[in-house]
């Protein structure tokens, strides 16, 4: 009886997994097929089977748009936000979790309050502010506002609270100051938190659309999400090319996730975000 229930559960889970996996598989397989075949097979099982496979669509993407440029822009912006974000937010989280200073609780409360404000709500005033600084249509305008992040600070803060204080006490007695404690003791023991913040920041930044649309106007600094939106409207409409574009856009995200996944899962569990 139990095994029947278990089999049913597995079937249900398998069906759900296939359902989620199907669009990605459709895109990946479609990107390798000629355009006519993609359209003809849409809605049928053949769409998931390899047919007349080639890398022609990928070649076409590079010919039709400056894909390399967009990819470079996206990588540069995202890596900058992730790297500086890890440093700034982890230091802020550490200061809030461990150091004693005036106004600490107030700032923590403010950060919690900021957590619930979406970018859309502050996009326009932020746009004006950065326009006044003359930052429009630059890398800086896409990087600087997203380095400090309330969610990341809070995630680091809650992770650091859970680290045993004795490590820091021991390091202090061993002669280390706050910064050395942070880099020698805290950082190496907080890999799950760093991986979690890195992945979440990477995902958010990699798929950022609204903000780059508001603040950029030239191809020179535009990231991939804007480029794929334009690519849809670029005649002639070629589904195979669009799939190839999409596949290449997803690849870095998958790579980052696979690289950090081991720590990411632990990070989510350790910070109590998953329940």
């Amino acid at each position: 009886m139990v095994s029947i229930w278990r089999a049913c559960a597995y079937l249900l889970l398998l069906a759900a997994a296939l359902l989620f996996f199907a669009p990605a598989a459709f895109m990946l397989i479609g990107s390798l097929k000629p355009d006519a075949q993609v359209l003809a097979e849409a809605g049928r099982l053949q769409a998931f089977l390899p047919g007349d496979i080639s890398l022609q669509n990928y070649h076409d993407v590079f010919v039709r748009v400056a894909f390399g440029r967009y990819l470079g822009n996206s990588l540069f912006i995202t890596v900058c936000v992730v790297v500086f974000g890890l440093l700034v937010n982890a230091l802020a989280g550490y200061a809030l979790a461990r150091l004693e200073w005036r106004g600490r609780r107030l700032l923590l409360a403010a950060i919690l309050a900021i957590l619930i404000i979406p970018l859309e709500a502050i996009a326009v005033p932020l746009f004006y502010e950065l326009s006044l600084l003359g930052w429009r249509d630059s890398y800086l305008v896409q990087i600087a506002p997203f380095i400090a992040n309330a969610f990341s600070v809070y995630l680091f803060y809650s992770f650091f609270l859970g680290l045993p204080r004795e490590f820091e006490d021991a390091a202090r007695i061993d002669g280390a100051g706050s910064l050395r404690i942070f880099f020698y003791i805290i950082v190496p023991n907080s890999r799950p938190a760093f991986a979690t913040v890195a992945i979440l920041t990477f995902l958010t930044q990699w798929s950022a659309f609204l903000w780059p649309l508001l603040v950029t106007s030239s191809e020179r600094v535009r990231p991939l999400p804007l480029a794929i939106a334009n690519f849809y409207t670029l005649p002639p409409l070629q589904w195979g090319d669009i799939f190839a574009f999409g596949s290449m856009m997803v690849a870095p995200v998958l790579m980052v996730f696979l690289l950090l996944q081991r720590w990411f899962v632990r990070g989510i569990a350790a910070t109590g975000l998953k329940d």
């Binding site: 490590f167 021991a170 390091a171 007695i173 061993d174 280390a176 020698y184 023991n189």
Partner: protein, 377 residues
């Protein structure tokens, strides 16, 4: 090494709780001082204040003749061993031992030399490449000691360093620590909640309770002449038996009137003079478990019923319920010969040559010895 002094140290927390109250203690250069007390008594707080991990609310900390209140932990040059060792889990044993030296800015060669020296002393040579997670409890404890040793500090502060080890290993490492302390002639403050550890280890023992220093002295003095009821009950395993009495004038001077019987007081002038101001007062009489003997006669003197018997192999601890000791279950240390049974009524012989007398509020009034004498009818 250097001597250490706590001078009128108090520590209050923002919520108003007091961890230490007017704590005064001097530890001589090269001395092993044990701080003992139940959990929450302020013993760990005193170490943290000394190490610079916390700041005292008032008072002075002296290292040598230098005030160290305002120095950072690094400047104090004190080494500390923590209860759970606090070894850095991501570093190898070598890196753990090298960390304080690296922070002090020593050259790579000097670090290697010192680490290998200490690893040799503590027999850690073969574990240098392992991570703390791959070591047994005893090995981790030795690494923690090594990390303290490697710095050549002014003094060692040990915060319950053996409490995570099993009983056998604890005894072994305890004697290793004592031997190491003697060999290095190191000033060492050792915190523990285990009074047996305190008695066996310390040249001097300081007993703390509720943030207040109760008594400082060599172990035998604490056992023979406890300063108050807390020390009497805490030091010794099991602790001292206590029962109420009243100081009363008898035919030949003062006596201690208990419920149903009376105990003699030494007739010498000094004792009589010492007790005279307490005539008529209610007091506590204390006697160690070895000062209670079980007699067969229940006709004269105090009686009690046996509530439990613990057999230790070479002797027995007999726990007794008695109407004349309502506050506490009494304990007698007796030999293995006489047959005894739970529930049995037995006569109690109190060894009057080793009695302790405490004021109702807890302070000791007198500890005396006198030739054994019978009960006064």
């Amino acid at each position: 090494m250097a001597d250490i002094e706590f001078r009128h140290i108090s520590k209050c927390y923002p919520d108003g709780s007091e961890a230490l109250v007017d704590f005064n203690l001097a530890v001589a250069d090269g001395e092993l001082m044990v701080l003992v007390g139940p959990s929450g008594c302020g013993k760990s707080t005193s170490l943290r204040l000394l190490a610079g991990l916390d700041t005292p609310s008032s008072g002075e900390l002296l290292l040598g003749d230098r005030r160290i209140n305002d120095l950072s932990p690094r400047q104090r040059k004190l080494a500390m061993v923590f209860q759970n060792y606090a070894l850095y889990p991501h570093m190898s044993v070598y890196a753990n031992l090298a960390f304080p030296l690296k922070m002090a800015g020593l050259s790579r060669a000097a670090i290697k030399h010192r680490v290998q020296d200490v690893a040799g002393v503590l027999e850690l040579g073969e574990f240098l490449k392992r991570k703390p997670g791959q070591l047994s409890g005893g090995q981790r404890q030795r690494v923690a000691m090594g990390r303290a040793l490697v710095r050549e500090p002014h003094a060692f502060l040990l915060d319950e360093p053996l409490s995570n080890l099993d009983a056998k290993l604890r005894v072994q490492i305890r004697s290793e620590i004592a031997a190491l302390q003697r060999r290095l002639h190191a000033t060492m403050i050792y915190v523990t909640h285990d009074q047996v550890e305190a008695m066996t280890l310390g040249a001097r023992v300081a007993v703390l309770h509720q943030g207040r220093l109760q008594q400082v002295g060599v172990p035998q003095a604490l056992y023979d002449r406890p300063a108050n009821l807390f020390v009497a009950g805490f030091i010794g395993s099991p602790g001292m038996n206590l029962f109420p009495a009243r100081v009363r004038s008898g035919r030949d001077g003062l006596i201690l009137q208990c419920e149903g019987f009376a105990l003699p007081v030494p007739e010498d002038a000094a004792t009589q003079q010492l007790l005279a101001p307490h005539a008529g007062e209610a007091v506590w009489v204390g006697v160690r478990p070895e000062g209670l003997a079980l007699g067969s006669s229940v006709a004269a003197g105090p009686v009690a019923s046996i509530s439990a018997i613990e057999v230790l192999g070479y002797e027995r601890l007999v726990y007794l319920d008695a109407s004349w000791a309502p506050e506490q279950r009494l304990c007698a240390r007796v030999g293995m010969q006489a047959p005894l049974q739970s529930g049995e009524m037995v006569g109690i012989e109190i060894d009057c040559s080793a009695l302790h007398l405490f004021h109702q509020k807890g302070q000791a009034i007198a500890h005396w010895t006198l030739p054994p004498a019978g009960y006064i009818p």
